[in-house]
């Protein structure tokens, strides 16, 4: 009886949380179920992802919030000065990774300007899994409407203006594993640069939580001590 308030509050809270999680779970898979890949931030994967990005994606896309200096500064990537110099050519260290393709040329060739990929995994439901699915989602249109190479099983509406960047559609069996690994690596890389301090954040977070658990425990003891004579 006495705790009905607590109970009803808790009830509303639990109901709220459940309602909250339902669409979150659903949206994590973004409409049609996405393929699942393992997003990892180990140095090997991130470097491979960077290579795929600079060799393939950067032909059309930029990642302007990622500067050449960042490639050295973020310990997860940890490129050497020589590697960065080779990549950037005559571009400044503080410049972002920007494509040579001008928006005008892009519009002329593809009808659309390819979006900047700096925060793309945060801007799409499904994040890294969405990128992975997209790159390995070029198929024949089951309804035969969209021509091959423009049909993507995971793009909303299925007609995508991006030409199959990893040449997934026509690959033969022997290349599957390699292409999947490229897609996984670049998806991981893009997830990383979407929030480049995320690993540091989580590392610090562990200490913060540990400290708070201790602090809360001490405060609980203190509260009990102070209140021990109060009858209520």
């Amino acid at each position: 009886m006495k705790e009905v308030m607590m109970k009803s509050m808790r009830l509303s809270l639990i109901a709220g949380l459940l309602l909250m999680l339902a669409p979150a779970m659903a949206s994590a898979s973004g409409g049609g179920a996405l393929k699942h890949t393992e997003i990892t931030f180990d140095n090997e994967t991130l470097r491979k992802g960077l290579t795929v990005f600079t060799d393939v994606c950067m032909g059309c896309h930029a990642a302007k919030y990622l500067t050449y200096r960042n490639l050295m500064a973020y310990p997860e990537l940890g490129l050497s000065r020589e590697e960065v110099d080779e990549l950037r050519g005559d571009k400044g260290l503080l410049e972002g990774l920007i494509t040579e393709l001008s928006p005008e040329d892009a519009t002329e060739s593809y009808g659309k300007v390819p979006p900047d990929l700096s925060v793309i995994t945060r801007a799409r439901r499904g994040g890294g899994n969405y990128i992975y699915s997209l790159l390995t989602g070029y198929e024949s249109d089951p309804h035969g409407k969209v021509e091959d190479g423009n049909y993507n099983a995971y793009y909303p509406g299925n007609r995508i203006a991006m030409p199959d960047p990893l040449a997934w559609f026509e690959h033969d069996e022997s290349e599957t594993a390699d292409l999947e690994e490229q897609a996984r690596a670049v998806s991981s890389f893009l997830t990383f640069i979407g929030d480049p301090h995320q690993l540091e954040r989580q590392r610090i977070g562990i200490w913060v939580m540990g400290f708070l658990v201790l602090l809360t425990f001490v405060l609980w003891l203190l509260k009990r001590e102070v209140w021990k004579d109060v009858k209520h």
């Binding site: 308030m5 925060v119 954040r201 939580m209 203190l222 509260k223 209520h232």
Partner: protein, 405 residues
């Protein structure tokens, strides 16, 4: 510790000129508080903590944030770029930004709990009517502050959220169009809107700080309610705020920070609830997102708005759903405060809480025929609560009140 501090010469010097000592006594070490609070009474101090956190983190954000909708490379803007710079290049900028973004949601969590507490235990009833009314003013200013703040990163949801909400003002007769243009600083949401929202986003929390002062002052005049909802003996049934409630509030802070820091460090977007996915897409006035929804804490009122086909009625009902909180103390005629002793009221208020949660869910989800009906029912329950309230005391058999606490 406090006594020691109050015996120093410096303190005496200050005390002679400000009477700081008697303030500390009357407001803290001798301020009487009912001894039977449960943990629902912790949310007030938490709200104060979050307000301070928001102001402090906000001031640091302003040092680097640039309110400009001027386009930059890749379809971004100066404003969006400056937020990303905070996230990437400023030392611990990510921490400040996430503390602020998570803090906005945390603020509403604690304030909604705080309000729910007041509703359930009848804290809005005499002699605390004005205290309650000041609280409703705080709620409205908070909602305004959060709404203005959400425009600042200038993402798709920032832009379209502001467009939808400022549009509402246009629905008002006579002054509507003028008001809408005044808010936007033009015909459409754009750079002038961003600048005035930024200005107001800075102003509102500072206003809040002042009004919160008034709220606490009013509280210390009429004193706290308690879970039994009865008037108590201010001598025998109270304990001094310090150290009893300072330490209990501190414990609450510890528990709160555990939750807050979990989100800040491990889940800052909270699955898209605190920072929406679409807000990482730069604002684009030519491309309407498939589904525009405000952040979770505004969704209950958004549902009330959407329930009515007629825009003007929707706007009025939404405004009314908040405004009616002002007159709540005068709608409720029962002499008994706490829902513990009011069986009918208790059912009603629980149903009311559920209706707010359901309204929030409906407002967050993409519209559908079913949700529309669910939303309409929840809206009726919401208003039904207030409509029924003036009559409850006529037939409700309240339970006998205890002698003391």
């Amino acid at each position: 510790m406090i006594e020691k501090m109050m015996n120093t010469r410096l303190f005496h010097w200050v005390d002679e000129r400000t009477q700081l000592g008697s303030i500390i006594k009357s407001q803290l070490t001798e301020y009487p508080v009912p001894k039977n609070f449960n943990y629902m009474w912790n949310f007030g101090s938490l709200a104060l903590l979050v307000l301070v956190l928001q102001i402090v983190t906000g001031i640091f954000l302003v040092m680097y944030y640039k309110p400009s909708a001027e386009l930059t490379y890749g379809g971004y803007t100066v404003a969006f770029d400056s937020v990303e710079r905070i996230m990437r290049d400023i030392n611990f900028g990510w921490l400040i930004r996430y503390m602020h973004a998570v803090g906005a949601s945390a603020f509403f969590v604690v304030v909604y709990m705080h309000i729910g507490r007041g509703l359930y235990y009848g804290s809005y009833k005499g002699p605390r009517e004005l205290l309650w009314i000041i609280g409703v003013v705080i709620l409205l200013i908070m909602q305004g502050a959060a709404f203005f703040g959400y425009l600042l990163p200038w993402g798709q949801m920032s832009f379209w959220g502001a467009t939808v909400i400022t549009n509402l003002f246009g629905a008002l007769p006579v002054i509507g169009e003028y008001l809408q243009q005044l808010l936007r600083g033009g015909f459409a949401v754009g750079d002038p809107t961003l600048n005035r929202f930024f200005s107001l986003h800075y102003l509102f929390p500072l206003l809040l700080a002042a009004i919160v002062g008034g709220h606490i002052h009013a509280l210390h005049v009429v004193h706290s309610n308690n879970p039994e909802g009865i008037d108590i003996d201010q001598e025998k049934e109270t304990i001094p705020f310090h150290p009893y409630y300072t330490v209990k509030d501190a414990l609450g802070v510890g528990v709160f920070l555990l939750g807050y820091c979990y989100f800040v460090f491990f889940n800052p977007e909270a699955w898209g609830y605190f920072i929406e996915v679409d807000n990482f897409v730069p604002a684009n006035n030519l491309q309407t997102p498939a589904h525009i929804a405000p952040v979770w804490y505004l969704t209950p009122w958004y549902t009330i708005l959407r329930t009515f086909e007629n825009k003007l009625i929707g706007v009025l009902m939404m405004g009314g759903s908040l405004a009616i909180l002002f007159v709540l103390p005068f709608l409720d005629r029962s002499k008994v405060r706490s829902a513990r002793y009011r069986p009918v009221f208790r059912q009603m208020v629980i149903l009311f809480f559920v209706s707010v949660v359901v309204l929030g869910y409906c407002g967050h989800s993409a519209p559908s025929a079913t949700l529309k009906i669910v939303g309409a029912i929840a809206t009726s329950v919401y208003f039904g609560f207030f409509l029924l309230l003036p009559f409850v005391h006529k037939f409700e058999k309240t339970k006998p009140l205890p002698e003391g606490i």
